[in-house]
């Protein structure tokens, strides 16, 4: 997990450096309503506002991409009246989260080439079957199943969210992070498209992490899983003893 996260950060940084050098126009400025999304005890999803200034004319697309990992997709078949997982495929390079925002419909201004290179739009995300997982010929079904399942979980969105210009080329949009969002480093990519060409590009990193007691419990269970298990048992023994003692007196 950590390796993938680090890799995705490096990729995003490399991408952002390469692109900002390529963009001749004035740079895009971006700011977030919160530099981190904190998953605390009361977390039930949150909205994040993305503000920015995109100089000159053109349309803006914002892509929020979660950390990359691999994902197993399984297909069920009916065996003796019961639905059983049968075929499975492991897809690589799967972003944990993918939501876009734009000021108007993408097909009105975004050339297919740019969308393809920068993987803008769900149909352009390049998943690859993992080695040894490619025997299944019709793996495209699995790709679509992945998109469908992620959308049902609220982690992917097919259509862009609205993005509005406030004046002076300042724009604003709101991205919703559901309660089941995974932790890691997210990339917030802003593309300025002018006359069918990519005029400017900017990436901001966003940290989504567990906070407070939630983080302590999660980290403890991952890093010291034996001690965590023992502690869970001790807490349970104490709770059982306390309950017995309390009700015996009553």
């Amino acid at each position: 997990m950590m390796a993938w996260r680090t890799l995705s950060i490096i990729c995003l940084l490399a991408l952002s450096i390469a692109s900002t050098r390529g963009a001749r126009a004035a740079e895009i400025t971006v700011d977030l309503s919160d530099p981190v999304v904190q998953i605390t005890a009361g977390f039930a999803g949150t909205d994040l506002s993305v503000y920015g200034v995109a100089p000159g004319a053109g349309d803006v697309v914002v892509v929020v991409r979660g950390p990359i990992s691999s994902e197993i997709v399984r297909k069920k078949d009916k065996v003796m009246g019961v639905w059983v997982n049968s075929e499975e495929i492991t897809l690589e390079d799967v972003p944990a989260f993918y939501v876009m925002a734009s000021n108007r419909s993408l097909d009105e201004f975004l050339p297919g080439g740019i969308a393809d290179i920068h993987q803008i739009g769900l149909e352009n995300i390049k998943f690859n079957p993992a080695k040894g997982s490619a025997q299944i010929k019709d793996w495209d079904h699995f790709r679509h199943a992945l998109l469908r399942n992620k959308q049902r979980q609220g982690l992917y969105k097919w259509d862009p969210e609205p993005l509005i210009f406030l004046g002076n080329r300042m724009f604003r949009t709101k991205i919703h992070f559901p309660a089941n969002v995974s932790v890691g480093t997210f990339g917030i990519e802003v593309y300025l498209v002018r006359k069918g060409k990519l005029a400017a590009f900017h990436t901001t990193l966003l940290n989504v992490r567990k906070f407070g007691i939630e983080a302590s419990v999660y980290n403890f269970s991952n890093r010291h899983s034996f001690a965590y298990g023992v502690l869970a048992v001790i807490i349970a023994c104490f709770a059982g003893w306390a309950a017995n003692a309390a009700f015996r007196k009553a």
Partner: protein, 304 residues
């Protein structure tokens, strides 16, 4: 009020969890059952991943068994020697069970195995209880026939041991095997296994009923503690926040249930519990058989 469960990685209503723990606690208090076999499926219905539901429920059962065994201990109703032999089998069985659990999880079949195990055991228990309560309601007041002490193959087994409190002289292999099997169930299903252990102790081992429940609870503590630790190490699926909420509801509910149970007549209630068990079983079977909305599902991030 929503609370985020750090291991299940989802947000749930805190009062729903307290209510669930309390409700199952009341039932377990009235009927003197552990309640794991109702709680785990209900958690799964709520959308808690089955692997987390099973491992967390094992943790909760540690608490309810400790609470229960203390009362039996004071009355001297725990056969320590028998309990120890059972728990050796139980620890071996549950360790094997957690290994099997991890293996099935990697294969992507753990959900199916958990649900099928529940369908099988809940249907057997539900029907047995229903038949028993119908018989009781028909007032067939034939007292339970004193069990003749048959000599079967079991008594030919080696490694005989004397269990003074249970007034038995039997092979240690028998309680070891029973312990192993119940430990396996505890690991896969997230139950204490009292519903199998208690009848096995009475009918297979021939233990006196007075020491059965206390001894069963005694060994359940160790088996579920073993499951909790092993599940933490192998699968990181024990959610202590969830477990603590269930414990709070559970212990309070169980005390209320125990008081209610003393006041009520048993037969109709036992019939009602049988119907609840069969209802949960029917829902699980139905979910396994209907065509799912999406034939494809995500198996989570692959391990590297």
């Amino acid at each position: 009020m929503q609370i985020y469960l750090p291991i299940a990685e989802m947000s749930v209503n805190i009062f729903v969890l307290l209510g669930l723990g309390g409700g199952v606690g009341v039932l377990s208090g009235i009927f003197g059952v552990g309640g794991g076999f109702l709680m785990t499926p209900l958690l799964i219905f709520m959308g808690i991943p089955s692997a987390v539901a099973v491992a967390t429920e094992a943790n909760q059962i540690v608490a309810s068994s400790v609470s229960g065994v203390l009362a039996h201990w004071r009355r001297g109703n725990v056969d320590l020697k028998m309990g120890s032999v059972l728990l050796v089998g139980g620890v071996l069985g549950s360790s094997f069970g957690v290994w099997l659990f991890t293996f099935l999880r990697e294969l992507g079949q753990i959900d199916l195995v958990i649900k099928l195990s529940y369908v099988i055991f809940l249907s057997i228990i539900g029907f047995l209880m229903l038949i028993e309560s119908i018989k009781a309601m028909r007032k067939s007041k034939n007292a339970v026939k004193a069990k003749a002490h048959h000599h079967t193959w079991m008594h030919g087994l080696p490694f005989k041991m004397r269990f003074r409190k249970s007034r038995l002289y039997i092979s240690a292999l028998l309680p070891l095997m029973i312990g192993f099997f119940v430990g396996l169930l505890a690991a896969i299903m997230g139950v204490g296994g009292g519903f199998v252990m208690v009848p096995a102790m009475i009918y297979l081992l021939g233990m006196p009923t007075a020491v059965v429940v206390g001894t069963s609870l005694f060994q359940i503590i160790f088996v579920t503690a073993n499951v909790t630790v092993l599940q933490s190490v192998n699968n990181q699926t024990v959610d202590v926040v969830l477990a603590m909420l269930l414990m709070i509801g559970g212990v309070i509910g169980a005390q209320i249930g125990a008081k209610l149970g003393a006041l009520m007549k048993g037969e109709q209630l036992r019939g009602l519990l049988a119907l609840i068990v069969l209802g949960v079983c029917a829902k699980l079977s139905y979910d396994l058989m209907i065509t799912p909305d999406d034939l494809y599902s995500l198996g989570g991030a692959a391990e590297h």
